[in-house]
Structures are given as C-alpha cells and as structure tokens.
Symmetry: C2
Subunit: 457 residues, 2 copies
C-alpha cells in the first residue's frame, strides 16, 4: 500500500505543477478516502488545500476524517468559512467529536461556529462522556423505528433518512426513547410481506452497552456477537447512540498497542512511532527505566551482602547473568500469557487456583528440563571445552538447583502478580516482564547465594 | 458476561433435571449463539447434546459454529446422521471448513458424507488454500450481480438468495466471473429510481485481495477501508469469495496474540490458556528458554575472562544486575515499539534511517538521564545510606558511563534487529526482548569490563 502512495504522490505533484486540475479530479475520484489521506500526508504542506478542494463534497469529508490531526488543523486553517461549514456538517458526529478533541482551542471555536445547531448539540452530547467510554466513541446517527411501523414504512424511513446514518443495516426499534428491539435490513428485505409490522420480526433480546461502559468491553462485546453495530443506552435504558464495527476494530487495535507498550515498560502513547519525536519517546520510556534501575539497588545489596563469599568463589559470578535471564524469561512467559488472556476475557480472577496449579506444573517441567540441560552444558562446554576447571561438580549442582528453583519462583510471580493487579483494579499489563524481572532477580540471587553458602562454604 | 453464564448454567441444569423442556426452549430462544456456546462449555458433557436438540435449526448451526472444537466433536459423535446433515448444511462454508480442519479423520469423513454436494465442493475449494491465506478464511457465500441488472432485479435476487449469504450488504458485480464493481444495499435503497441499472451506481474502483494474500494483510486492508466485507479474487481476477468483518476481527486478535507470544519468547499456541495443559505450555515455552540459557554461555565466558579483575574489585559485581536489566529494558522498549509499528504497517523497511536516528537521539536522552540518576543513587544510597565505602567516585563513574553506553547499544540493537528480520523475510516478533536481552547482556559486560580495566586497574 505504502509503495502505491509514493508512486501516486509523484504523479499528483507533476499534475499540480502543470495545473491539470481536471485530470487530478479524475484520478482522485478513483481512490478510497483512506488512500487519498495517505497520499496527502506524503505531499508538501502547501499543496494539500489545493488538492483537497478538487474532491467531491462527500469524499472530502470522508478523506478529512481519515487525516492525522496535524493535517486536519492545517486544512482547517486554509479553508474559508463556507468550505469549512460544508466539511463539518458532512462529517459523522463521532468523527466531528474526535476532531474537536484533537484541535487547539481557537480552531475548536471556529469549527463549532460553523457547525449547524443540530450537529453542535450532538457533538456536545458525545463530548460530555468520559474518555474511553462507550458514550465518547459512539455516534448518534442511527436509524430508529417505531414498533408499529410496517416493513414498507420502515424501508421508506430508511430511504428518507439513511443517507446521513453511519449504518442503516441494523435499525433500532424504540418506544418512548427506550430501546425495545433491533431489526436488520436483511430480515426486512427477506420478509415476503412488506405489511408485516416491525414489532413482529424484531429481535427483542437486545444486547446493548451503557454510555459509561469501557471502550474495550464495547469492542469485545461487538466482536463476540459479530454485530455490525452495538447500541448504547443511558442509565434509564434510553437509546442514545451506536458504536459501529469499524470503530470497534480501531479500539481493539489501540487498546492492544497500549497493552503491549505497558508490557514493555513504557507509558502508552497516542501518537504513532513516526509522528513521535525523540523527546516524546524519551518521556514515555524514562519513568519505568529509572524506577527499575533504582529498584535494582536491592539486587546490588544482596550481592554486596555475599561479597566475601563471592571473592572466595569468583566462578559463581559467571553464572549470575544466565540465572537472572532465565528467571526473567520464565517470568515474562507466564505474565505475558496471563495478561493477554485477562485482556481477551478468557480468564477471570476466579480462575486463579487453576492458573497457579497449571503454572506450578509447567514450572516443574521447565525447571527439570533446564536444570538437566544446564548441568550437561556446564560439564561439557564450560569444563571440558572451555577448560574452566574451577567449576566443581558441586558448583554445577548448585547452579542447576538454583535454576530449577528460579524458574518455579519466576512462573509463580509471573502468574500471580497480573491476577492480583486485576483483582485490586490495577491494569495487569504493567505487571509484565520488566517489573517481574526485577523481583525475580532479587529472589533468584537470594536462592543462589543461600544454596551456595549452605553447600560450598 | 462470564458471571451471567455461570448463573444461567445452574438454572438450565435444574430445568434439565426436572425435564422442563418447553421452559428450556423458551430460555434458549432469548439468547445469542455466543452466549449459548458459553453456557454449553460450562455444562456437564452428557447434558449438552440434549440441550442442543432443543435449539431451533438456525440457532443450532450458529451455536455450533461458536463452540470450541472439543465440544463440536462431542456433539457430532452424539448426533444422528439426519441431525448432523441439518447442522452441516446450515453452517456458513467458512465455518464448515474450519470445522473440517479441527476434527479427526473419522469425524471429517462423517461430516463430508452428510454435506450436500454443493457444500462439499465449496468446503474443498476453501481447504485447498494454504493456512492463513485469504482463500483459507474466506466464504464463498456472497451475493453476485450482473452489471445489466436493474436495482429492482438486484433486490429481487438478494431476496431470493440472500438467506444463505454471509452478508448481503455489499454485493459484487461480476462479468464472466471477473469482479468489475461493488454496490451496497444502502446505495440501492437510497437510489430513487429502481429501474437504474446496477452498472450505473456500482463502484468500479474495487479494492480486493488475492486468494494467497496473508490473512493479517486481509484484516488490515478491511480495517483500513472500513469495509463490511473484502472480496477475494484468484490469480486471473475472478471473484471466488469474501472475508467478512467479523472474521477479520478474529484474525486481528489471533495474529496479535501470536505476536505477543513470540515477543515473550514463546512458540505461538492455537489453544486458549485454559484449554492448554501443563505439557502444552511446557512444549511452547521450553525451546526459547533452553536456547537463551545456552546462549548465556557467552556472558559467562566474558565474566570468566575478567575473573582476576573481578576478584580484586568485587564491588563491580554488585552493579552487574542493574546494568544488565537496564540494558534489557531499554532494548525491549525499542524492539517492541518497532515490532508493533511494523505489524500495524506504520513502518516499512525504507524508514530504517529515520528510525535509527530517532532511537539514537532517544538513547542519548535516556542514557544521560539514567547515568546522572545512577550517579546520584550510588553516591547517596549505596555510599552514604548503606555505607558501602568500597565504591570510589571513579567506580561510580565507570558504572554510570557503562550505563549510558549500554542504553545506546540496547536501543540500537533493539531497533535494527526487528527491521533487519523484516527485510530478510523473518518474523520481526521473534527479535524481541529475550533475544535482544541476551545480545545486550554480552555487549554491556564487555563495555563494563573494558572501561573498568582501562580506568580502575
């Protein structure tokens, strides 16, 4: 896809230089809004408003919604009031609300002054919900039907009002604003008799979410039931909007990226990598790095505490990295698996006993296998191949035994911390590798020196 | 959701005990297939076939498609040939193909013998495509129209054939089996004149994927353009199927889970956590653990090489865990960010110079901040608070300088390895934290002892 944008962008630039506006129009009309937006962001800033004006009205609004905020701002500043009014009122309400949230105050003021009263009211309706709630991502543009309507009347209503709706394929049947059923266009079209009332074919077992439901739950609910759109109701069961599948996909991708960033010890970022500068990246990465570095004071203290023992048996030092890394890897395998299962809703806190027991079994298997392999490695590679005769069989035993215990500790810490975090209402994702590594490091060193002290000195 | 299933499951069990079949039917009809499937998997195995028989035909097929493979197999073994035939032929073809892939050979044979010839042909069509290709996840049940049809004729065709189609909302216009345009039900309904030919309102700029396109690309393309379904064409441009948005969401979730598993040093698993036993988990986790453990031989060798120096300055050992962990964390921040951006298509290999430059800047900022903080920490906490007077200012300087260099190395390794992997056609996700940690460990120890040797001995 990216390849295509690059090639096209050269052509467009040449055509703009030659002022071949009709040819440009002919080209633009063949492209999807997402592709036009991609081309725009490759072009020189001053050319974008010119090209944007060549788009037909509807395509212009759709392209505008696909642009990154910095390009949206650039365009708004370049458009006349009349042009801006046309774009704003053509946008879907949820896209307009997103725009308002991203723009600086003076631009927001100008946008709202150009929005027609109905649009302004609906934007404000969405903006009053907390960030990441169903209310904040929904759109108010859905088709509502009355239960007494016939299918013919319902289709007539879709025809009359559907052009501005984000989806027409699922319609919502309301009575005194309460959501009492859903009916799909498919069911209406496939019904032989168009005088059947909507109430006779509607599905009364409505799955809906509340305006305050977390957006991740919204996306998972939609995905679970394979819905094109999920209705959003207020505290009194009144229908207020819908979240469509395309927005749910965006939420899933965004939330997963956030989880992944947290698991790698970063603060989640709203910007894409290429849009972030080094300072942004620094600010998102330094807090955890600094915290974890300082907390390594404990591992330092443990080593200092056994300093005299280590001075006598320096060979023990050589195995510290291997033990620590294996502990860290074992722990992050467990924690990352549990965190992902929690965030997909596959695991609940009530599964904790099952999880702990499964991790203990796995840890025993991994521990025995690694300890065995480690023993063979030390005897064959370190002693025979590398000729490190300082390593006695007893030393090898101490290392391998520590290895097995470390794996067990790591898997236990790795599986319990995320579940405990979930239980107390924290985000399990921050309990991932870096955090667990620090704990496992300290514990495994204690085990190592404890066993070494008992057996070797 | 899980809470709800648990409560319901008790009620169903009691009603089954009392043989209240009509009440059970009344309850089941209020539930979505996904919820019925969730309830079934909580019930005792012998009760499921009984309850399943109470479902109306269409709901039975939809519920069946939502069940985990082990429950599907259980049901198939419990159903008569006639019952099985009804279920199989009611399934969407892509679900039927998924089923065939999961079942053991003797069950497959029975399923295919009950499928009607058309169904069998379409299943085989899908099964011949490579795993994870567009062809393997598509369904062949879409609405195709001829360009010369009027809208009225098109809607007539949807009414006649739509009941078996996975979606009717986007229809595909074909000529000699070639895909030449798409038209949505929305456009058809909103068009005033139903005698307009389809060719006049269809969108001729069709976005499609090839049967062999990777499923992750399919899902990303659908998400990029906000399509309800994406058409799949063969090498000659002939329309062969569609991938619907709900399957695309499943692919996105599945592929992300795979990436996360790989990033944490595990082989990706097809089973959910609760369905995997300890032996499954062991087999998926041990390969990377063993490989990384053995590769820690290098860090061991480096430490052994500087053994005499370490024996003289044992205090240096105390900082090894801190340096290694900070290196590992810095590296995994960079690698995980790059891997995610690559898998979302935000980065291409051609962005490599930009990425490297950005990571160098970020590393310098992080390195200076961490080195400064580390120096303060050593002087205040380790020397003054903990009274460790072995640590000279020069030692502190060596540690902090190594820290800054380690961060730089870690960020560079962390950003280049995933991009290099992508370039040579490897999966960038395996170049994540555990792998990079091992490399960064060795490099940072070399730097540490190198600087220490130069300045302290």
């Amino acid at each position: 896809m990216a390849e295509r944008s690059v090639t096209l962008e050269k052509t467009l630039r040449a055509l703009l230089d030659d002022k071949k506006y009709q040819t440009l129009k002919d080209i633009l009309v063949t492209l999807e809004p997402a592709d036009i937006a991609a081309v725009f962001s490759e072009l020189d800033k001053e050319r974008v408003p010119l090209l944007f004006r060549l788009l037909p009205k509807e395509a212009a609004a759709e392209t505008f919604a696909e642009l990154e905020p910095e390009w949206q701002e650039l365009l708004i500043r370049g458009l006349s009031d009349k042009e801006l009014r046309e774009i704003i009122n053509e946008l879907y309400v949820d896209d307009a609300a997103d725009l308002i949230e991203e723009m600086p105050a003076n631009v927001v003021k100008r946008i709202l002054s150009q929005a027609d009263p109905q649009m302004r009211r609906e934007i404000n309706e969405i903006l009053r919900f907390p960030e990441d709630s169903a209310g904040s991502i929904m759109t108010t543009e859905y088709v509502s039907l009355r239960p007494s309507m016939t299918i013919a009347e319902a289709i007539q209503r879709i025809r009359a009002t559907g052009v501005d709706k984000e989806t027409i394929y699922t319609c919502y049947v309301t009575q005194e604003r309460k959501l009492i059923g859903t009916v799909s266009v498919k069911d209406m079209l496939l019904q032989a008799d168009d005088q059947t009332p909507v109430s006779a074919i509607m599905d009364e077992n409505v799955i809906s979410v509340n305006t305050l439901t977390d957006q991740e739950t919204v996306a998972q609910t939609l995905s679970k039931y394979n819905f094109i759109a999920l209705p959003v109701v207020d505290q009194d069961g009144r229908m207020v909007g819908i979240v469509t599948f395309d927005d749910a996909i965006d939420v899933l991708v965004e939330e997963t990226t956030e989880d992944i960033e947290k698991m790698a010890g970063m603060l989640p970022s709203e910007k894409t990598y290429l849009r972030s500068n080094a300072w942004d990246l620094f600010l998102h990465r330094i807090p955890w790095l600094a915290l974890l570095m300082v907390s390594a004071t404990f591992t330092g203290m443990i080593i200092t505490g056994f300093e005299s023992a280590l001075a006598a048996q320096v060979v023990l030092t050589a195995f510290i990295p291997m033990l620590m890394d294996t502990g860290g890897n074992s722990g992050s395998q467990a924690s990352v698996t549990i965190i992902r299962a929690l965030s997909l809703g596959e695991l609940e806190f009530s599964d904790a006993p099952k999880v702990v027991w499964k991790e203990i079994q796995t840890a025993v298997l991994c521990g025995i296998a690694l300890a065995g392999l480690c023993f063979v490695k030390i005897m064959l590679v370190d002693r025979m191949l590398l000729g490190n005769t300082d390593i006695s069989t007893l030393t090898a035993f101490v290392v391998c035994f520590t290895m097995a215990v470390t794996v067990l500790i790591a898997k236990l810490v790795g599986c319990t911390l995320p579940m405990a975090a979930k239980r107390i209402g924290f985000d399990p994702a921050v309990m991932a590798s870096p955090f667990i590594t620090t704990i496992v490091d300290a514990l495994s060193l204690l085990v190592y020196f404890g066993i070494a002290s008992a057996l070797l000195f």
